[in-house]
């Protein structure tokens, strides 16, 4: 029985151990699913390079997956809501980090804060530049006059919403704010809670571009990542780095090449690289202007034109993905 216990624990902590998923399925079968345990799965869509089509593809998945919670973890430049048009049910402030503020009445201009600040965030006339301030609190801690305030920042908002595809968790980081990684972690957690509450066992998460803080925060505990690559030298370069990142955090990865026909040689090279790294290649999507036209109308490509080449290809990708993750 301890195998099942481990499987249960791993399901609870969303550990991506394939063995635990097999055991859980077995457990659910033996108990005819009466355990009430839902093996929640989360697929995070990332790309490394921006603009490869993450959001258009996840929007199509939203149309294709039967039961799911949508999560937009690209909090810095969130776009999925432009297609899903969420009806916001809950709205919360996202508070994280602090900024120093010098109270000019108490300040004796001793200059200690300027000496200690490693961000050069304090001007000669003792005003803190809020953009440069890292929120480390060193000036606040050491100020001999206790002239520095250190209030908590409200740096964004997060929402729980209803859409025509099902529930959605999304967020908006205020412009020029920090702590995007923390907001990504929070919105994914809220997405999971929402799924648990509704007895939904699939979370589809739209991830951010890059390989830094917000991307790292979008990976932890994911069942798998789907990397949307584009067949260009940049797309290939960036995909290789994001593959390395997924391996670094031991998250299983799959890849699909979008706009494949733009440069089939680069597309194939991406697929060869993926196979060398034991990454599942789950489909090719052609360049299809229907994606842009669908976006302009605020629709998924499935809603816009289910007979388009792009739609047929994305359906194939979704079926392969669903099959390999047993969704």
């Amino acid at each position: 029985m301890h195998h099942y216990l481990r499987a249960l624990l791993q399901a609870v902590f969303h550990e991506p151990d394939p063995n635990s998923r097999v055991l859980l399925r077995e457990l659910n079968r033996k108990t005819k699913g009466n355990t009430g345990i839902i093996a929640m799965k989360e697929i995070v869509i990332i790309s490394g390079k921006g603009g490869t089509g993450k959001t258009s593809i996840i929007a199509a998945f939203a149309s294709l997956a039967k039961s799911k919670v949508l999560c937009d973890a690209d909090v810095d430049a969130a776009d999925l809501h432009l297609i899903t048009k969420p009806e916001i049910k809950e709205k919360h402030d996202f508070e994280s980090g602090h900024t120093a503020i010098i109270n000019q009445d108490k300040c004796s201009e001793c200059g200690l804060c300027r000496d200690l600040c490693r961000w050069n965030a304090i001007s000669e006339d003792f005003v803190v530049n809020f953009i440069e301030c890292e929120g480390c609190g060193v000036c606040y801690y050491f100020c001999p006059e206790k002239a520095i305030d250190f209030p908590l920042n409200t740096c964004g908002e997060w929402y729980l919403s209803e859409t025509r595809f099902g529930p959605m968790a999304h967020a908006r980081l205020h412009i020029a704010e920090e702590n995007s990684g923390k907001l990504v972690a929070l919105i994914r957690q809220e997405g999971k809670k929402l799924a648990e509450k509704r007895h939904i066992n699939l979370l589809l998460t739209d991830g951010p571009p890059g390989i830094g803080c917000p991307v790292i925060a979008s990976l932890g505990g994911a069942t798998a990542v789907l990397i949307v690559a584009e067949p260009t030298v940049s797309g290939r370069h960036d995909m290789e780095r994001v593959v390395e990142l997924a391996a670094f955090f031991k998250i299983p990865a799959m890849v699909c090449v979008n706009k494949f026909d733009l440069n089939p040689d680069q597309g194939k090279a991406i697929e060869v690289f993926a196979r060398e790294k034991n990454i599942g290649v789950i489909g090719r999507v052609p360049f299809d202007p229907a994606f842009t036209r669908a976006m302009v109308q605020g629709k998924t490509i499935v809603e816009f034109d289910s007979q388009s080449e792009g739609c047929k290809a994305v359906k194939g990708v979704w079926e392969n993905l669903a099959q390999s993750l047993e969704i």
Partner: protein, 281 residues
């Protein structure tokens, strides 16, 4: 003069504009690729790399012989990167923001600094163009400190072109601060427009003049142009969707390499920017 090239949305053509602009001008130019998470400019410029430098950020190291387990280091740290647990001090280097607070506060002077690798900076040349970029170490979360290090290569008196990452949060701000002009590259789609508005918001917070390049200008709709007009943001260049450009890009070729007549248009783009910057001063 410093021109930062940003976009909000990814994949709109920042690198295309940065590289084509950099090679189209006769004046002294340096190109700093500050998209350190996914730098791409080098794939098009193909510079000869002359110097590679590993960049580190200071993180604490505790001498347990001297430590009295007072816990002040954990108290001052805002990032939960150091904590006294039972009879030891745990340091989480990956979480450290390098503020030096723990070292300052330690009454026993038990804390010194060692380095965490952020990535590398590579510097090179191609045909007289100076090229610098940062490459964030895979697994490293914090890109702004590396971006700031790349920006230290800025040489006053010549034109510095900065290729920024997508988004509008701290890494983008680190690429825009101190620039004389921000060139925003967008595409005329709902996603492009939505993220452009965020990028314009960031530029406004910083108080920097900006202008627009509309890439793939004949796809999507005309909402970007309507927005630009409302906000009084000049549209400095439009590049229609052209499969030749897309295919050249996919092979790592710049527009001006396959269509040399574009050189003049990029030179003109620079002159327009210069005029705006000088009229603002």
């Amino acid at each position: 003069m410093i021109i930062s090239i940003a976009s909000g949305k990814g994949g709109t053509g920042k690198t295309t504009i940065a590289t084509n602009l950099a090679v189209s001008l006769k004046s002294d130019v340096q190109l700093l690729d500050c998209d350190v998470e996914e730098p791409n400019s080098h794939l098009f410029i193909q510079p000869v790399i002359e110097k590679v430098k590993t960049i580190t950020t200071p993180v604490p190291e505790v001498d347990m012989e001297k430590c009295s387990l007072c816990g002040k280091c954990g108290e001052i740290c805002q990032f939960k990167a150091i904590a006294v647990i039972a009879d030891t001090v745990l340091v989480f280097h990956e979480l450290c923001h390098s503020c030096g607070g723990c070292m300052q506060v330690c009454p026993e002077k038990a804390i010194t600094e060692t380095g965490r690798e952020l990535g590398v900076i590579e510097q090179g040349h191609r045909n007289g163009l100076e090229f610098v970029h940062g490459r964030l170490r895979v697994g490293e979360a914090m890109s702004p400190p590396l971006i700031k290090k790349v920006r230290e290569y800025t040489r006053p008196g010549i034109l510095t072109i900065i290729d920024a990452p997508p988004g509008t949060s701290c890494p983008v701000i680190a690429c825009m601060t101190g620039a004389d002009f921000v060139l925003l590259v967008t595409e005329p789609t709902p996603f492009g427009l939505h993220d452009l508005k965020l990028a314009v918001g960031a530029v406004k917070i910083l108080g920097i003049p900006c202008g627009l390049v509309i890439n793939r200008s004949d796809i999507g709709n005309d909402q970007v142009k309507i927005y630009a007009e409302q906000e009084n943001i000049p549209v400095l260049m439009e590049i229609p969707f052209d499969r030749r450009i897309a295919e050249a890009y996919s092979r790592g070729k710049m527009i001006v390499e396959v269509m040399p007549e574009w050189k003049e248009r990029f030179a003109k783009l620079y002159h327009q920017i210069k005029e705006i910057v000088f009229s603002n001063n």
